[in-house]
Symmetry: C2
Subunit: 397 residues, 2 copies
């Protein structure tokens, strides 16, 4: 009997004698070894809302097929995937699906939590609405969300929030229970609540306070994306998941619905809570490569994609851990822009979630992982090297 | 702005001044008026597991199109749908989609909770496994689930559970907080837990006790279906949602994944927790009409479908509320069999969920509703008359 099949949040004692006594819960699903099951079964741990693919009955758009070429024969790629706790790995080259690997029980139909790759999807949705004139990135947050007037974000511009240069009293220490990021997890339903926690994410955001002057320096802060999602809701009068569905997901030819976790206040956890299949995540990278078009149709304004891919000001990120890997790197519109000569951009989430886009070779790499550490320089380096190796192999193909 | 769009479990005060202050919660989602939102957003209230449609990238099977004919012009059909709190209504005639109606914000992509229509889907899955020799309906429950040996179900046969003639100390009073059916709701995560409740559905089932001799009389008892699901898990070594996906849902040409609610023990709520689109539910009725085949391929054994459609022994249901509507009615393999000359069979769930199958006209009717009462004779009569009116119109077409 397959152990992993039974690794539910469960009374596994009914399988007593089969050597299986793991028990995945809301307390442990983000920790190894429980995370391997947890990251691919998030709807069984937290409530979720669907992000629909195209209308009922519409077939998904198939990727053109092609051979994997060198990739299939390279043991170092295999070593990289195993060393970095990979659950799924999908490579598109010139729009064709050239390499696809799944590990453990994770398969093409399964949806993996994206963590902060969700942020990059939120910003593409903001880009669509900006293109329609519903959001002006130069406006203040409180212009769109009056309830945030007295919060840290009230007088920040939308662009500052998109680029994470808003100054917020917020600790993004994933392993410190006293940090704001862990409190936000609890409020979002990702961890068991504590009595003193705010009722929901809306209230949590309203209580955040400023910690300096906006626009001066890069401060990675997950809450900013949820502020963007609240803006999306207010300017459309619709719920976040429905807007992402209507404006983005349903227009990419996706093979499956995505989903997003929701809290007791009905708030969709925009900063980390989307889950989707590996192939569908690759379509997000392809959308970047194709300048915001999918299937020959405009989805996100070209100007928004160009602005994102050109990156932000590397000076504001001086001293950041990020620049230890990418010395000229910046963060623009919720995407990481290494500032290399290739024009690479990527989206990244803790525990090894990635979409990597290499324009010169027209390569998109989507990777789901269950790395034990949320973040580490070693993991960032290993992933950067692994993705570059894949791109090298395709360049020489 | 559309009120219903915002009717989330939520801090609707952020929409203050718009006249909207409803708040859907785990306490009230089964009660009108909150149920209208709750029944179509179950994944936002309870954790869920996916029941996958066909493999990634496979297109759904489209229904042949046809005209609605008489149905479109009949105001009494419209009256029936409005009077019975309809959310969705789909009619297939000779395999073609001839009539489709949606109300409120519910649409073709939305998934509605099936309530006890879920039971009929469970039994079709049991039928598949019986056809493969994995389950023998004549065997005792404890043969497949030793942990249930001391429970009410231990010495009941699988067939008795399928037909609901197991004798169990269990009140199916939906509005009595002291009833077993409400306790089971709480254990399943459908209502807030009470301290003394069993940990999960597995434990709940083990604690049920016998109340007489099995096989003597029909006793509608939701817990029986969960016993069947536990048998399904034990004979396959796989989780219930995965088996329903593999053996049934993925083989019907469905347009969307279904989902099923899960409890803290990882148990899928087989007796009432499936949600799916209206069109996909109609495919279940079509499967019955087509003697267990879908798209020309065998899915459920013909013998199982035949045995179900012939019905059970009406004598064991003597005195039941059911026989006030269908005097010759029986319950066989978790389907209702009125015992009329037409050979009608149907699946039904509280608050107005139905699949109605009329063999002479080759008609399938799927209906989702948010009726305020869970069950009532008046509602059963109104639905029976409404479905017969639709069938009449198609017969004369």
């Amino acid at each position: 009997m397959n152990r992993s099949l039974l690794a539910g949040p469960g009374r596994i004692d009914r399988y007593a004698g089969q050597g299986f006594n793991e028990h995945v819960t809301l307390e442990n699903w983000q920790d190894a070894p429980f995370s391997r099951w947890g990251f691919s079964h998030v709807s069984e741990l937290i409530t979720t809302a669907p992000i629909h693919r195209a209308g009922a009955g519409e077939p998904p758009v198939r990727f053109p097929e092609s051979t994997a070429g060198e990739l299939d024969r390279c043991s170092d790629v295999d070593d990289f995937l195993r060393a970095t706790h990979t659950d799924a790995f999908v490579v598109l080259h010139r729009g064709a699906l050239v390499y696809e690997r799944y590990f453990g029980t994770f398969g093409p139909q399964d949806r993996h939590i994206l963590m902060s790759v969700s942020k990059s999807i939120c910003a593409l949705t903001v880009g669509v609405l900006a293109g329609r004139g519903l959001i002006d990135p130069r406006e203040s947050v409180s212009h769109y969300v009056p309830l945030l007037k007295d919060s840290a974000y009230g007088d920040a511009s939308v662009q500052q929030v998109l680029d994470m240069t808003a100054a917020v009293r917020y600790s993004e220490d994933y392993v410190d229970p006293a940090s704001e990021v862990q409190q936000q997890d609890r409020v979002a339903g990702w961890r068991p609540r504590l009595e003193a926690d705010p009722a929901d994410t809306y209230e949590f955001l309203m209580l955040l306070r400023r910690a300096g002057e906006h626009g001066r320096s890069f401060q990675y802060c997950s809450a900013g994306t949820d502020v963007l999602a609240w803006i999306v809701e207010n300017v459309t009068g619709a719920r976040y998941a429905d807007v992402v569905s209507r404006e983005l997901w349903s227009r990419l030819g996706c093979g499956a619905d995505a989903l997003v976790t929701t809290d007791s206040g009905g708030f969709a956890f925009a900063n980390g809570g989307i889950a989707c299949t590996a192939r569908d995540l690759a379509r997000i990278g392809q959308l970047m490569l194709d300048d915001g078009e999918a299937g020959g149709k405009r989805v996100v304004p070209s100007a928004w994609i160009g602005d994102t891919m050109r990156g932000g000001d590397p000076l504001v990120a001086r001293g950041s851990a990020y620049q230890k890997i990418h010395p000229n790197g910046s963060y623009r519109n919720q995407w990481w822009v290494p500032g290399d000569a290739r024009g690479t951009v990527y989206a990244a989430g803790i525990h090894g979630q990635f979409v990597w886009v290499d324009p010169p070779t027209q390569t998109v790499i989507a990777k789901f992982s269950s790395c034990p550490d949320p973040v580490s320089l070693a993991s960032s380096r290993a992933h950067t090297e692994g993705f570059r190796r894949v791109v090298d192999l395709l360049e020489s193909a």
